[in-house]
């Protein structure tokens, strides 16, 4: 620091002290400000819970809880109050139908791709395939919905002649395709983290790569793999645009994949695009449905965390 001739040492000390005290203020203020930003994420969770609970309580003051869980019809827009029925199982069955189809598609392809990438593929192939899977994972769901509606549905209609235009099969398959990259990449991570010494041991004993993958690596990485399935299922339950575009809007208590259905998410979309005015029972019903959806996905996410913690093999 250059000392100007007119300034005495005392002035300099004073200046430095003043500077330090403002510096100290910053040092004290910054952690507080940063803590406040961190609180925002907690507030978000509280906001979600508060929103869902408050509006759902209002809904249940108008619709009996027993009707909500026991009736199998969901007719919020029927004319005449006495004809309106709010039985969530009609929407839950649609959601489960799509989720089951998606799982049937995603698990074999996702796991197969993961085994190939982690056990068979050369480094070069991995370097090409992994980014492509990332691209698939980054495609907006509205694009997948468009694909289901304009490509998969017409294709399925050729195979199954009396398939209605809106059905559970097409969005189910496409939701499955959507979650393949997620399952493949998480399972691949789980299998790749099994130490190489174990691989070398098995190969030295004369195991083929297939025996190595199925009998050694798969059991060793099973917690991560199952957790990836559960996370994929959770994503399928909450998926919205694909089922809204290709699944239809006919709440239908069925487990027949060739029927028109409605999922919890697509009901929320339908009701929010203008069919439910603020303050009506229909308006509050989207929160009751949202609450059900939230509980389903929360259980799946907690389950995934529990599995990956409880059954992890430590090396």
């Amino acid at each position: 620091m250059a000392m100007s001739s007119g300034q005495s040492i005392r002035d300099l000390i004073k200046e430095k002290k003043a500077k330090n005290s403002s510096g100290r203020l910053v040092e004290k203020a910054v952690p507080v400000i940063l803590l406040l930003t961190a609180i925002v994420s907690v507030l978000t969770t509280l906001g979600i819970l508060y929103t869902l609970i408050v509006e759902t309580v209002i809904f249940f003051s108008q619709v009996p809880f027993m009707e909500f869980i026991t009736k199998t019809e969901w007719l919020p827009f029927a004319s005449g109050d006495e004809n309106k029925v709010y039985g969530i199982s009609a929407l839950v069955s649609g959601t489960l139908l799509v989720t089951v189809i998606a799982t049937i598609v995603a698990v074999p392809f996702g796991l197969g791709a993961a085994i190939y990438l982690s056990e068979y593929a050369s480094d070069r192939v991995r370097r090409i395939v992994k980014p492509i899977l990332e691209i698939l994972a980054g495609i907006p769901t509205i694009v997948y919905g468009f694909f289901a509606l304009t490509f998969v549905t017409p294709l399925l209609q050729k195979l199954i002649p009396d398939l209605p235009f809106f059905n559970a099969l097409s969005p189910g398959i496409v939701v499955g395709i959507m979650i393949i990259p997620m399952i493949a990449s998480l399972s691949d991570d789980a299998m790749s983290s099994v130490p190489n010494a174990i691989r070398e041991g098995a190969l030295a004993m004369g195991a083929t790569k297939f025996e190595l993958a199925i009998k050694i690596i798969l059991p060793a990485a099973i917690s991560g793999i199952v957790a990836s399935f559960v996370l994929g299922i959770s994503r399928a339950i909450g998926e919205t645009m694909i089922v809204t575009l290709a699944g239809g809007s006919n709440p239908n208590f069925t487990f027949n994949p060739t029927e028109t259905i409605q999922t919890m998410t697509s009901y929320i979309v339908q009701a929010s695009t203008g069919d439910a005015g603020f303050g009506t029972t229909q308006y509050y019903s989207i929160y009751a449905v949202g609450m059900t959806l939230f509980v389903f996905t929360l259980i799946m996410n907690i389950l995934a965390q529990y599995i990956s913690r409880r059954f992890r093999e430590e090396y």
Partner: protein
């Protein structure tokens, strides 16, 4: 005593090797399946949409006649919403990450925040829409506006940005911090002048990927109340609006195939935006990735 029966092993060897080959092929097919689907999807969308791509498509507003319809209002609307989302998400996301990595003590409260963030990442996006509808649209009385949508989107991508920022702050080596402290720098000076500049490429890469998710996200904004038919440009943060994915949804959900082609054209534009954002993210990662 023979431990291994040589003849037995040799007899089985052939079928074991064949099995290995068969399953290798099966696993390869499973891998190729995704790539083939991606190829079909891209091919379909480009062949359907390219003829609608023109200057008019960019300059026209929504219309009931497919030939006159354009994406201008939705494109500008997306820019406005992202204009709110990006700064809000960055400030709160990076702030949270700095707090958790540099300041927070390892206690229950910190673990709670951390657990809370990973749980938020698993909440379906449409539930964030319900949050936005009640809190921003109704309680804060922002209405069905750009601001309400931008805030909702920011909360949606917040967990992704926090996790990405945490990872890249954690990757800053301890020696850099110690060197800075050793030179007499305070904690905040160290964070601001040493840790953040080192971590910023990683933070940006992760954040841009989160923003590109926000650009394509549809469901929460439908709930918050983006309009499907907008033929004006937003004039402020409290203006009503539409965004590209919602315009695409609107076109795709109509029965006429001409509108489907329009939707495909919109998707091409959306893809171009996403490719540009992802390329920028990769470039940043490659240009600034230093090893210590």
């Amino acid at each position: 005593m023979k431990l291994v029966d040589q003849a037995q092993v040799e007899k089985k060897m052939g079928s074991r090797l064949i099995n290995n080959q068969i399953f290798k092929t099966i696993f390869l097919i499973a891998t190729l399946f995704s790539l083939v689907v991606l190829g079909i999807l891209m091919y379909r969308i480009f062949t359907q949409g390219y003829e609608f791509l023109s200057a008019d498509f960019f300059n026209n507003f929504a219309s009931r006649r497919p030939s006159n319809a354009g994406i201008k209002a939705a494109f500008i609307g997306t820019l406005w919403v992202m204009g709110v989302t990006i700064p809000v998400a960055l400030i709160f996301g990076v702030g949270t990450a700095i707090y958790l990595e540099e300041y927070a003590k390892k206690n229950k409260f910190t673990r709670f925040i951390q657990m809370n963030i990973s749980n938020l990442a698993g909440v379906p996006s449409i539930v964030f829409g319900l949050l936005g509808l009640t809190i921003f649209v109704r309680y804060f009385e922002l209405g069905r506006s750009i601001m309400a949508a931008g805030f909702t989107m920011a909360l949606l991508i917040l967990p992704v940005i926090v996790v990405a920022s945490q990872e890249s702050i954690r990757a800053v080596p301890g020696q850099l911090r110690e060197a800075s402290f050793g030179m007499g720098a305070t904690k905040w000076q160290t964070i601001y002048r040493v840790v953040l500049p080192t971590a910023i490429p990683g933070i940006l890469t992760g954040s841009i990927l989160a923003f590109s998710r926000a650009v394509g996200e549809t469901a929460p904004l439908i709930v918050v109340g983006a309009f499907a038919y907008v033929n004006y440009l937003p004039d402020g943060l409290l203006s009503t609006f539409t965004v590209m994915p919602i315009q695409i949804y609107n076109w795709a959900s109509r029965p006429q195939t001409d509108f489907h082609d329009l939707a495909a054209a919109g998707i091409i534009i959306l893809f171009i935006i996403l490719i540009v954002m992802n390329t920028v993210a990769v470039l940043i990662r490659n240009k600034f990735s230093k090893r210590y």
